[in-house]
């Protein structure tokens, strides 16, 4: 009984001021709460994706949509985006190393690992730029037009084109396709259904393009911000500003939290857009 009272008293005193009950520096607390609010924003975007996908009769098939890679590689489902994920994970790991070296007040080590993190972040952005460019200039997906469709019934093509589709090619329900553009004109291929009705390829769910560009763009914007701040912190590390503060490179730790958060968000963007 006596013990519990003194324990409670200690708890009250802890919150009366003059102490840090959380034992975390102010800047780090605020970074955490900012990240919490940012997590809500991203969660809202990703649930919007989920709601619209659930409400649509068909949805683009990710392993078909994301099957191109640089150097003319086609039909390599999810390979390029897996490499992008590895780049981001690796840059998160180099960030952990930078924070470790900072806590040891090792200026050279901190600067080295921060530099590697910046390179990792920039590489990821480069990959994303390639991916966007491929969608916009080669596959002509925009925020309101989605050429990635999915067949809802089986049938036979009565037109050829679209890179490898011949007259007489059969397809089944659930098979994905990409509508191609020739000289600025959309060229949806005609097909005959099993009942003999002639139809042409329909465009895919229109929300897909808008969601893809908006959500991966918002994540890319965070990566851009992160790289910018990492460069600023790197300059300050090299100039010896944080060494003078003698607080274990706290600023490196704070930018580290933000950088890990960007990696954390990518885990879910990767899950929702690419894997499922």
């Amino acid at each position: 009984m006596v013990e519990t009272i003194s324990e409670e008293k200690k708890q009250v005193e802890l919150w009366e001021g003059g102490h840090s009950p959380f034992k975390v520096k102010y800047g780090k607390v605020m970074m955490w709460y900012f990240l919490l609010s940012d997590a809500f924003t991203f969660a809202a975007f990703l649930s919007a994706y989920g709601a619209l996908r659930f409400s649509s009769p068909t949805w683009p098939v990710p392993d078909f949509v994301f099957s191109t890679a640089p150097f003319g590689i086609n039909h390599a489902p999810l390979i390029f985006v897996t490499i992008m994920s590895f780049v981001l994970i690796a840059s998160s790991v180099t960030m952990v190393r930078a924070v470790q070296e900072g806590r040891k007040e090792n200026k050279k080590g901190t600067a080295f690992w921060l530099l590697l993190t910046v390179i990792g972040g920039a590489t990821f952005l480069g990959c994303q730029a390639w991916e966007w460019n491929n969608f916009i200039t080669k596959e002509h997906m925009t925020i309101s037009v989605n050429p990635f469709g999915t067949h809802v019934e089986s049938g036979t093509y009565i037109e050829s084109g679209g890179h490898g589709i011949e007259i007489g090619d059969e397809f089944e329900a659930g098979e994905p396709y990409l509508i191609h553009k020739h000289h600025g004109e959309w060229n949806p291929l005609k097909y005959r259904t099993e009942e003999g009705v002639i139809k042409e390829q329909a465009f895919g769910s229109r929300a897909f393009g808008a969601l893809f560009f908006f959500v991966t763009g918002f994540h890319g914007f965070h990566v851009t911000l992160g790289v910018t701040f990492l460069i600023i912190v790197l300059v300050n590390v090299v100039s010896g500003l944080y060494a003078k503060r003698k607080n274990g490179y706290l600023m490196v730790e704070k930018i580290g939290l933000f950088w890990h958060f960007v990696d954390l968000v990518w885990v879910f963007v990767f899950l929702v857009f690419y894997l499922v």
Binding site: P21, F22, K23, V24, V29, W32, Y33, L35, L36, A39, F40, A43, A44, L46, S47, A48, G50, A51, L52, R53, F54, S55, S56, P57, V61, P62, D63, P77, L78, T82, S85, F86, I89, A90, S92, V93, T94, M95, V96, R97, Q100, E172, A173, G174, E175, G256, L257, H260, F261, D263, L264, V267, F268, F270, L271, Y274, L275, V276
Partner: protein, 165 residues
């Protein structure tokens, strides 16, 4: 130094690299498997999609836990502070459930409306389609229902005339 190394002496950062890398590879493997890219007979199978999605989601949440707990060190912060971040985030569980639920309902409504529109467009009006099930609405009197039917027929005829013109 000791707080940066695991028991076998390897720096925790590199342990994280191996774990996250392996889990990501597993995720991609299960994703391709459930879409039928590895075993083609699984293509288009609903159960494969749902089982695959569940497994991948579990892996993703493990990755999230690992990043938050070990890379961001929330696991080693004071518990009350960690809870002040994690408990509000639990609200997101309901957000996701509610929106997927709502989306499913929008899809159902859209499909139902589409069926009605297609039926009207494809064939001349069939009065029996518009008859309400009197067993379900016993309080409705037959007269009101006939009125509705009449209106609907008129509406359809007007539409038909417009098309002919």
């Amino acid at each position: 130094m000791s707080d940066h190394s695991s028991s076998n002496g390897l720096n925790k950062a590199y342990v994280g690299l191996i774990i996250l890398g392996l889990v990501t590879l597993l995720e991609v493997f299960f994703s391709l498997l459930s879409k039928g890219d590895i075993i083609s007979s699984l293509e288009g199978k609903d159960w494969a999609f749902y089982v695959g999605a569940f497994i991948i989601a579990v892996f993703s949440f493990y990755k999230a836990y690992y990043i938050i707990s070990h890379f961001m060190h929330l696991g080693s912060e004071v518990k009350s502070f960690a809870m002040s971040v994690l408990l509000p985030a639990c609200l997101l569980v309901w957000l996701v459930i509610a929106f997927l639920w709502a989306g499913d309902s929008w899809g159902y409504n859209r499909e139902r409306d589409n069926v009605i529109i297609i039926d009207q467009a494809m064939e001349p009006i069939n009065p029996s389609r518009l008859e309400l099930d009197t067993a379900e609405f016993p309080e409705l009197d037959k007269g009101a229902m006939n009125g509705e039917e009449h209106n609907a027929e008129n509406h359809f005829n007007v539409k038909k005339e417009e098309v002919q013109h």
